[in-house]
Point group: C2
Chain length 321, copies 2
């Protein structure tokens, strides 16, 4: 949570003269997003978000992200719509950073989403998968299974700082996941980071999907694994199957899963847990002590990973056999 | 700039049921204020700020701050108005922290305020001094001249990390200021931290004074010194007398300064520079490397201090003799 680049009033006013979105009423850096700097901008016309893309986001990927959001918003989904400047361009630059302005979405994220929210999230996830079809650009998953071994190797024996033999245990579990990884499931554009903090609600109604900066082309059902991990485990680490079933039922109300997809849910969810374990592990070991963002504990995802590798099959997630 | 305490949606909804301010549309931690956590709260009725008071603010001081803002807003000044809960109380608690809700003020702060803004700031400062009269509570200046020697002593010889003989030089300059400190100038409630980031404008119109958490009882003209230091020095360290004159003229259009006050401006401004030099020095030496807030360079204020101790008299600030 941070604002990495400060934008002063003079620069802002000059920048906004390129847009037809009214004049500034208020402007505040918001403590959201770990990759970018985000400002809440209120003008005489509406509320907007100004996003400055910081170093961790590849400038080459920006046209894909922007097209995806335009495409989804155009299909009626509640996601930020990039706002074009007077010259028609969407991507611009401010304070030496690439940037874009987006419509603001109402709603608040839910720290402990209930069953109804989980169902609504499942529905929106399936809609995202279907509505993303037909976009012209694509982006490989830079954090997909092929990247995991080298991510682990880059931390190496420091992994054992988390516990005795951790490196060996991670290697073993990783080998098990990759050797069982499915290669013929339906693929498409996935969000790849649809944690509760990236979904907005008013009451239980889902009003917004945000933060598309990990979106990429991958196995669609892998996205379900990411959501099961981030939405259906309680604070004490226990798995809430009622929420899982609600999420899956919501998803299937829009896009029916094949038997093959269903049977692969455990390994996909384990793979998703591995991905977040490994990136958190990397950040845990590599974040400077004076960083603005505190790294998250990788062990939370280790416990989730162990759960998925211990289940007997898809019924554990609430699929009816 | 930070949000120290996170407020989840469930806690927020329950908390807001004590208020009659509508239901939540959006809620975002904003990257402003170094002492507190601030959230921008939009409801079906209006925009508000929810402030959580963190450890550096004394809970005992909160009733004074709240009364001051109520009092000033009641006199028509553009400052945040504390919002009472249904039971009439203004100070409350959330996530184990004292907190209060305030009306939201439109406008943006100005990084490089022009002459007109400096004049408007001067006018608002004098209005604040006059309008604060008659409030029932008071608060001594915890960072007033009596505190400076012990602040310096707490850093001690580490001061020399800033340069050879710095401790001795600071002691010398400090002794000069305290031995010349006036003790019979008009006193009252001062803001004591009216830097440009605490003042909001729309165009050049001043629309808000915020962050009253250093407000206290002290010499009124000392507040002018604080503003001269933070508004009238350019980024390259040079003093802009045109802005200084505008600020002073704005002030005197509301509250005429006595000859005694005018003649003491150099020492009051030097004292103000010493105060910010010393607190920055302390923070510079004592901020943990992993802190959310980066300490500011004390040397900026050392250079300002040297300016004030080199001037020939009040004419240097644009007072007509």
């Amino acid at each position: 949570m941070a604002v990495y680049t400060e934008v002063d009033d003079t620069t802002l006013t000059e920048f906004l003269s390129n847009y037809d979105i009214g004049s500034v009423i208020s402007f505040a850096g918001i403590a959201e997003g770990v990759e970018n700097s985000n400002y809440l901008l209120r003008t005489t016309k509406a509320h907007f978000i100004l996003t400055l893309y910081e170093k961790r986001v590849q400038a080459d990927d920006l046209p894909f992200f922007v097209e995806l959001m335009e495409h989804l918003a155009g299909k009626g989904m509640n996601c930020p719509l990039p706002v074009a400047a007077k010259d028609g361009s969407v991507l611009s630059e401010i304070m030496g950073r690439p940037c874009a302005i987006f419509t603001f979405l109402d709603g608040t994220s839910s720290r402990f989403p209930n069953r109804t929210k989980c169902r609504n999230l499942g529905t929106a996830l399936a809609q995202l998968h279907i509505n993303a079809e037909g976009i012209s650009k694509t982006r490989p998953n830079a954090l997909g299974p092929e990247s995991w071994k080298s991510l682990l190797d880059s931390v190496g024996s420091r992994t054992n700082e988390l516990g005795d033999d951790m490196l060996m245990q991670v290697e073993k579990r990783l080998a098990h996941i990759t050797s069982n990884w499915p290669n013929d499931l339906p693929r498409g554009i996935i969000h790849a980071d649809l944690f509760p903090n990236n979904v907005l609600f008013m009451g239980d109604d889902l009003t917004g999907l945000i933060d598309f900066y990990f979106a990429c082309e991958d196995i669609l059902a892998y996205d379900i694994g990411i959501c099961l991990n981030s939405w259906c485990f309680e604070a004490d680490g226990s798995f809430n199957m009622t929420k899982s079933r609600a999420l899956i039922n919501g998803y299937q109300s829009v896009r029916k899963l094949s038997d093959d997809e269903i049977n692969n849910i455990p390994v996909l969810a384990a793979g998703s847990a591995m991905r977040f374990f490994l990136t958190r592990l990397y950040d845990w070991m590599n974040t400077p002590k004076d960083a603005l963002v505190s790294p998250k504990d990788p062990m939370e995802y280790w416990s989730i990973l162990r759960f998925h590798q211990s289940v007997s099959g898809p019924s554990a997630y609430g699929f009816y056999q």
